[in-house]
Subunit: 365 residues, 2 copies
């Protein structure tokens, strides 16, 4: 039996306990019960997850005054302003008050939506993250980034707003499709590459077991990735310095998602390709060729689905609309050594377009 890992994200007035591992939900039950006792508990989730987990949550939430499901679409379709509007109206109509509670039960999209909805309902009510996907457990649920999409860009509306608690029960991953596991692992590879090289070694040795979702191997990897994320968020909560390293692979990924209107590749797969593209830019700037090769092969090992057909110009347009662009231009995160990344704005439009041209044709070269 893999033990549970207890972490804490702590800075200024923020203090978020995080529990990771198989059975974390049961272990956190006493704290959760105190938190929702005699309160209205809004359960933000999707129809599919409600079907799978509603009974378990209801059993757990008997101390709440009422458990009110707020059902939103699966995936990125949940992250829109009109969905927020409908959820807010529902919450008010169903008696939501300042001391009501919200539980975000689902993947990264539910967590992102839930944080924004909770953070701005009546100027902020408390919420808890109960991530059910690997991606949400290792990345999205930790760090206080919340938000929804606009037509021109992902996560363009949102807040820094922390949950009261994150409970990442890795047992939820048992029913997770292989593609979702792969996507979460891409974020783990991202963090390991720039923040925790020994974790990268472990991943490299265990790709098949990880992709199979073997909890014995996966749970400790998740716990270490969360620990790496907690560390960097603590150092830089508002993403003005080192936290920006977590954007490794994301400039490309967000652009691809925008071009595909969030219906093409999954986010994690996009991050995989984004890291490959960043490695290409890094190799032009002195990255050790052996390391570059190793990182490319590592990503190849995860067998990403093929890149959708798109044009360099369309991607470039979407990149310049990315919210992480400043009025001064695009900033890229590039690996410099293992465990060390850097930010650079010194990549011209011409270079990006030219590299995209060859990259889109053969991304692993």
């Amino acid at each position: 039996m893999t033990p549970l890992t207890s972490l804490e994200l702590k800075y200024d007035q923020v203090k978020v306990p995080i529990l990771v591992g198989p059975g974390a939900l049961g272990a956190a039950a006493p704290e959760l019960e105190t938190w929702w006792r005699e309160r209205i508990l809004f359960l933000l989730t999707s129809e599919r997850i409600l079907y799978l987990l509603a009974e378990q949550i209801r059993d757990l939430a008997q101390a709440a005054a009422a458990v009110i499901p707020l059902v939103v679409p699966d995936g990125e379709a949940a992250k829109t302003v009109p969905v927020c509007h409908q959820v807010w109206e529902d919450m008010l109509r169903r008696g939501g008050k300042r001391d009501s509670r919200l539980l975000a039960l689902g993947g990264g999209t539910i967590g992102d939506l839930g944080g924004f909805v909770a953070g701005s309902f009546l100027r902020g009510i408390e919420f808890v993250q109960l991530p059910t996907t690997l991606l949400a457990q290792v990345d999205a649920s930790v760090g206080g980034k919340t938000g929804v999409d606009l037509e021109g860009g992902k996560n363009s509306v949102g807040l820094f707003y922390h949950p009261q608690r994150v409970v990442a029960d890795t047992r939820f991953l048992e029913s997770l499709p292989r593609a979702e596991v792969r996507c979460g692992l891409m974020e783990v590879v991202k963090m390991a590459t720039l923040l925790d090289p020994p974790l990268l070694d472990d991943i490299e040795k265990n790709i098949p077991a990880l992709l199979d979702g073997d909890l014995e191997v996966l749970s400790p990897v998740i716990a270490r990735a969360v620990a790496a994320k907690v560390k960097v968020v603590t150092e830089d909560p508002k993403e003005k310095g080192p936290r920006r390293l977590l954007n490794y692979g994301h400039t490309f990924a967000h652009a691809l998602e925008a071009v595909e209107r969030y219906e093409g590749l999954r986010h994690g797969d996009g991050v995989g390709y984004g890291m490959l593209f960043a490695l290409r830019l890094a190799s032009r700037r002195g990255l050790d060729p052996a390391l570059g090769r190793r990182l490319v092969e590592l990503i190849r090992g995860f067998e990403l689905p093929p890149l959708p057909a798109t044009s360099p110009e369309a991607l470039w347009q979407a990149m310049t609309r990315d919210k992480k662009a400043t009025e001064k231009g695009l900033v890229w995160v590039l690996p410099r050594h293992l465990g060390e990344g850097r930010m650079t704005a010194d990549v011209s439009r011409e270079e990006v377009l030219q590299e995209l041209e060859t990259f889109l044709a053969s991304p692993y070269d």
Copy 2:
């Protein structure tokens, strides 16, 4: 020439300079120019205000990379989620970035909307409040409360999010309709009653000049009301203690506005009636009858428009949906002495309904 008053709202990491008086905009010009220099400046305002002030702002904002007007409806119609959505999409489409700026130029509704829009665009961009109405200058622009309305309740979606600066140029009030002046003065009466009794004496002596919008009399009254607000917000930024005193008159006012779907009485007039209703509850709980009478007569002096016809039951329903209600019940702010208020949850549904019955028929008795 009335001198300008310089104040500062300061707690934790919040530090908001506030400049009040005739000509404040000109005096703040150097700081504003530095703030928007070479940035995209979004000018959130209404068509009417744009017509009146656009030229002045454009002259002032020549250092900005671009001045992009975001035109929203006048009044409460601006404070909706769909308007936010449209403004956010516009901002992104027009090239808005994390280092872009937003100027909220208008009354309280523009300031409330502007703060929410700025606070959640790309997880928060900087904004400045340039309030053009008395109500916005004395109250809405200071203290970081931002938000929009839902069908069931005013300000039900929003944030605590402070502007970088508040510039309250009282010259803007020269073209303000008398009804708007009266509404702003109701908030001043509210603050003076519970926070600054000497200010209440001054108001009492000068009602006609204040209602006429005589800047010589009005500007210092505004500055003192803002100072009172700054003090109470500094003591209690998140409205968990004394700041809740500012809710005096508002439980009734918000309910009336909700029942009238924000199209009946103006907010300030509603607050006037709300104070009258609170005085009635306070008089049943030991408020000195002479003081009660004095406060009722003071409000009568402002010649509020008649109360719209409504029912006690409809108002009660709306009150229980007010965001300041907790799951434990409604909290009322009642004056205890001059300069001293208290919060009480000890008013039964029956008492409220019974008092409303007689109050709606003759509010000044």
